[in-house]
């Protein structure tokens, strides 16, 4: 059982005009086995939250705290966070030319576990996970994300999530740009990981569509860098029919 606690988190991004505040006091507690959907309009700070938690250097935490089972996440480097159990499935995964998927996965697994995985079970685990995500075995020999379609990139992200077994997984708009078939395959992968009950999921999305496949335990509406409303899955249904206009009017009034 793990807990991620985000307390009064303020984050700025460096711009030419100086630091620009994006997150303005985020409070959120995520327990393993739970899925929290973060929804909100474009520019509300959803992705900033994701990248700040992962430690991207572009984002400066100006105040607040983040802890994973009591350990100070903000004091950790990017790779230390991952080894502590944080995982970010990225919206735009980058290409790493010349590094094969299989080499990358094995290197990451070795880093996370602190030892190389037992070869036989590892090969089997990779094979099973790839089959589950309908990824052809030739995928393993391709360079990381190079020439991948949008759907392939997202499946590759979920493949990593399945194999690296994080405590907390942040999925940053994993649904964006996916057609219905790809969305279903990716969602099945997320649900397989969720069914273990060992992972807490922070599902960041603009659309309610993915929530038909991945049922959240909690829904948080993100507006202007903070959580404007919280509720159960029914809140997503309401957003589906009403959209974000209600919050935006409130924010600009």
């Amino acid at each position: 059982m793990s807990t991620l606690e985000i307390r009064d988190l303020h984050v700025s991004v460096e711009t030419k005009e100086g630091p620009k505040p994006i997150l303005r006091g985020v409070d959120l507690t995520i327990d393993s086995g739970r899925t929290h959907a973060i929804m909100g309009p474009n520019g509300s700070g959803k992705s900033t939250l994701a990248y700040s938690l992962a430690g991207h250097p572009k984002y400066q935490v100006t105040s607040g705290s983040v802890s994973l089972d009591g350990a100070d996440v903000l004091a950790m480097s990017v790779d230390e966070r991952a080894r502590a159990g944080m995982f970010l499935a990225m919206q735009y995964p980058v290409e790493v030319p010349g590094v094969s998927v299989s080499n990358f996965l094995r290197t990451a697994k070795t880093a996370i576990d602190g030892e190389a995985p037992a070869l036989r079970t590892w090969i089997k685990d990779v094979k099973v996970a790839m089959e589950g995500l309908r990824m052809d075995s030739s995928f393993a020999e391709r360079s990381v994300n190079e020439g991948f379609s949008g759907g392939e990139k997202k499946r590759h992200e979920i493949l990593q999530m399945e194999l690296l077994k994080p405590k907390m997984a942040i999925l940053d708009e994993t649904d964006s740009g996916l057609d219905v078939d790809a969305l279903r395959i990716v969602s099945e992968g997320v649900n397989r990981v969720r069914s273990t009950g060992d992972v807490g999921v922070l599902l960041i999305t603009h659309y309610t569509r993915i929530l038909r496949y991945i049922t959240p335990d909690f829904v948080h509406v993100f507006v202007d860098g903070r959580i404007a409303e919280e509720g159960g899955p029914e809140l997503a249904d309401r957003l589906e029919s009403e959209g974000y206009d209600r919050y935006l009017t409130g924010a600009t009034a």
Partner: protein, 410 residues
Amino acid sequence: MTSTTDSAPALSTDHSRAVADGAHTHGTGGTPQGSRAERITSFDPDVIGIPTGREEEWRFSPVAKLAPLFETGLSSAGVRTTVVEAPEVQVTIVGRDDERLGRAGVPGDRTAVTAWTSVEEATVVSIPAQAVASDVTSVRVEGIDMTPSASHLLVHAGALSESVVVLDHLGSANLTETVEVVVEDGAHLTLVSVQDWASDAVHASSHRIRLGRDAKVKHIVVTFGGDVVRVTPDAEFAGEGGEVEMIGLYFADAGQHQEHRLFVDHAVPNCTSRVTYKGALQGAGAHTVWVGDVLIRAEAEGTDTYELNRNLVLSDGARADSVPNLEIETGIIEGAGHASATGRFDDEQLFYLQARGIPEADARRLVVRGFFAELIQEIGVPSVEERLLESIELELSKSMSVIEGGVAPA
């Protein structure tokens, strides 16, 4: 021209859809150059004089260090050449008047012409017509001392033969070298030249490749060691249907000068050339130069050419110069393009790898390894590929303290 030093932002050019617009060059400094076709070439050292360093072809080079090789009458004593040939391949030592010599191209700079006039003997590696070599032929040029020396190697691939020749350079030497490569009609040759000299070596090498009809050459240059290494591969097509793939890898450490100047001369129709050179640099004073000249003459209709240079600058104080030149004298071609990019580590790549738990130093190593591995996979000779991957590992382990960029050890 792309030239990157410490703080310059990454620059790139991409003219993959370059059209026939006559001379198409990039240049922001140095001596203006006319057509590459106008470059003086000669077997006579009186025609190609001693350079001052201001000439177009010498403007990036440390000419003072190369000066001993500008003299004529150089010795042959500074290096020892050993050949271990495939059973199908013949090796002979011939006098300089052997009629097989001097058939591929003409010396195009001072060190090339001094190499030509100085040698008394040449090593000839000959692959008989239609022979298929069952093994790699290895030519080892070992430096004995720093006596300014010249050497000449001819690789002659007979018609329809298939072979792989690996040329290694090691030890300490002060050498100007000619590597003549004559590839007869329909022959396939892979030639690898590895410059892994000791840290004081000074080496100029003129590779002159002549491709017959439907000949296919894979020419690979790998430069790791030495103080100054300057390799100038020229390729000329003597018959239609020729294909040349020129691959280069280099890794310059502090104080090293590594220069690769290529010239592909499309003088006949329907030939293909691909040039891909990649380099990494780290440490103060590491300097690499890549110049890629491609000339498509008016008669070379149906030409298909593309050249690419990429440089990865791993630390402050290193400098990469990259100058692609494409001259097109006919519009009736399949394609012609070039691209050059010089940059530092991609922070987003590092973030991605670190976000998967991989420590920063390992992530950097992975990126550099991948940068070269991509190209090494193109070589197609497993024994050479394995060796080069090992050499890259060695270079990486040597230079990791610098690549880590002052990151405190965990």
